[in-house]
Symmetry: none
Subunit: 208 residues, 2 copies
Amino acid sequence: MKTLTERQQEILDFIRQRQESEGMAPTLREVATHFRFSSVNAALAHVQALLAKGVLKRVPRRARSLQVVDAGPSARRRPRVVSVPIYGSIPAGRPEDAAQEAEGCVLMDVETLGIRPTARTFGLQVRGDSMIGKHITDGDIAIIEHGVQPRSGDVVAALIDGQVTLKTFVLQRGKPYLRAENPRYPDLIPQEELQIQGVMVALVRKRK
Amino acid sequence: MKTLTERQQEILDFIRQRQESEGMAPTLREVATHFRFSSVNAALAHVQALLAKGVLKRVPRRARSLQVVDAGPSARRRPRVVSVPIYGSIPAGRPEDAAQEAEGCVLMDVETLGIRPTARTFGLQVRGDSMIGKHITDGDIAIIEHGVQPRSGDVVAALIDGQVTLKTFVLQRGKPYLRAENPRYPDLIPQEELQIQGVMVALVRKRK
DNA sequence: TCCAGTACTGGACAAATAAACAGCACTGTG
DNA sequence: CACAGTGCTGTTTATTTGTCCAGTACTGGA
């Protein structure tokens, strides 16, 4: 593929962005307006250059027919996005019962999360610094996959006293316990049954 | 939501299908052609009915502006997703020059990232532990917003010796320098101009 | 029978849009 | 200097598209 000029790359990015966020490709006029061209033709020229270089497709004489050719690796994988609800705390019971109390939502592609598309997944806003040893800080969102068998060393969301906390799941001599990754917090040896809500598969941190 | 007539459901399905497969919504004439209407107006009437019932959105007087309202759980919040390209390392020059060399992609919603939808954003796979003090570990993906003025304390991607590294941007007595969040790494006081690629707005960590 | 709702035809019109043509300014190169 | 490439302006033309108006046909009540 031929290289694009800086300006052409900007135009291409804009078109891609618009198509992804608005669901439809921009018109030449919208491109021109966004880049403050006073002539549509400037946009047209760029689009034609992108067309010639094969990074854009179009149906001639059709409104909004621009399509970014993502011919590369992302052409085949269709971006399967899942909407992950975020909870600040999860009350007793199954997490899906609390679906209405989601505090927010993160949309991420299945690929990145590395989960099964069928999996029940939710986000958990981390409170405190009990997992600081694994570099999980206050305010981070832990993406938890429900219904997975945890392995030793996995970070899991566990139900303790009606509250969900993040801990490291450790198997020692066949017996499981939960370890906090901060010396100021005690380990938890379960008296009865260990209630694991799910295993952390990803972490998202936002700028405050 | 009011119930749809059989015909209306067919029309709605067609519009959804076209948008998903072609990447753009059909025009009224395309709808009419597909259903073998000899008048555009038949399609218009149906579309208006769907509009009235709230299952379809549109921008008036705009070509191909139909959008199916996904009645699902994510109905209210419009999931504006952006496709963030991920670079392992960025060679010398501006990041957009290396667009073709993206190693992967993360799809995330604009809401979570807290960026302007028009912004140029990219992901940077973190190498090493020079930012461990801010709990950014090897393998993390830093989401960088390009073209933003960094403030003191922000984590930024900076261009040093043709390589992009993550550092904390610090303004001390009006003079900027870059701080590594690890005592084993030295601070960087720029000799000439400080090349800031962008400011970190979010962090994504995948389970390995 | 009358009426209302749904489904469609046919035609006309204005706005939105793509496309083409003629330029101008700037930059680097031989 | 001439020349080519890039980036942009300004204008015109043809097509596409959304919208409106008037009318037909069928259906199922009241």
